[in-house]
Subunit: 204 residues, 2 copies
């Protein structure tokens, strides 16, 4: 039996650059994660291949998947459904491969319920760290603007609580390196490694 | 107040190459760990500087440190005492620096009692993984030899239980990369990062 893969969930506030970081990770040759292919009801764009870019479904099929609990998480955007098929994720993990999901915060919370053992990484906006400077140098911005930003920042920081790790997206390359370090470290945890050695000795 | 540093403890069975890996890590320019300077009763060798290579002490001074609980761990080898001074480690952690300890398994267990929040990394001999092959290809080695190796392997695997991570020393450079990934990931844990953000917002 193969060692089960890791479920890696990258999420964070909208506009933080999740997609850019995900693309950068998958453009690196040494990346061994499997990208989780989403299910969608939107029409394929030119060049998009079913089962590669997306699993394309009708609304009826998608709603049946919802009813059958076949989606790890799903949402509706501008009239189309998008979701993560649980069977694909489960099968890939069983094959011993790490699955990489890049999703919205609401979706991540749904995934956390189904896969609490997943690796939940919060991508934080660099503006969070800059906030202090902006507050200190008040006067360059209006009070209302700063107050809005403070409210948003508080909401973003509260979101973090559901995650295992926080990576600031101040630089795409650095963010990728950090995400890969997190996944590597997770594979080296004693709870994962020791049973492998113990199993080895049973060969006797 | 600075964020407290991490205590990194690298240990493993004797002969596994802990010293080589430690030297390789500290020869890398981007390494930001502070090496924990040991206390010893042995005489300084040519070129060794007190407070840099070791803290050199008399036997009486060392025994006083033991009595005063000033040592995180200590042992006696070929007539000389060696130990880790708790004040130096504590002060360096408080300064926000990561402290790196490379010690024997017995010492690591002592440190774990005093600093359970430390990062305990077990360096595993690559021979452990080769064991399976050696058992499968029996005949090339005597049964007694294999049995001895099996016993040693079982003891080594049991040692792992006190550690957080296991890194196989199949290649010094890879082992260094893994250790650094573990430390980086640890710094990105939400429990460490979120309070920093929360503190930032208190500036209001």
């Amino acid at each position: 039996m193969k060692e089960r893969g890791l479920l890696i969930v990258l999420s964070g506030p909208s506009g933080v650059g999740k997609g850019t970081v995900r693309q950068a990770i998958f453009s690196q040759e040494d990346t061994k994660f499997e990208y989780s292919i989403s299910v969608t009801t939107r029409s394929p764009r030119e060049g998009e291949v079913n089962g590669v870019d997306y699993f394309f479904k009708t609304r009826e099929e998608f709603e049946q998947m919802i009813a059958d609990n076949k989606l790890l998480e799903w949402a509706e955007y501008v009239g189309n459904y998008y979701g993560t098929p649980v069977d694909y994720v489960e099968q890939t993990l069983q094959d011993g491969k790490d699955v990489f999901l890049e999703i919205e915060v609401q979706g991540a919370l749904q995934v956390r319920n189904a896969f609490p053992e997943g690796l939940f990484i919060f991508l934080a906006p660099p503006s969070l760290s800059e906030l202090k400077n902006r507050i200190v140098t008040r006067g360059t911005e209006t009070d209302a603007l700063i107050e809005n930003r403070m409210k948003a920042a508080k909401a973003e920081i509260e979101m973090m609580d559901a995650y295992d790790y926080v990576v600031e997206n101040d630089n795409v390359e650095t963010a990728c390196d950090k995400i890969k370090a997190i996944v590597l470290a997770e594979h080296l945890k004693r709870e994962r490694v020791a049973p492998r050695y113990k199993k080895m000795l049973e060969v006797e």
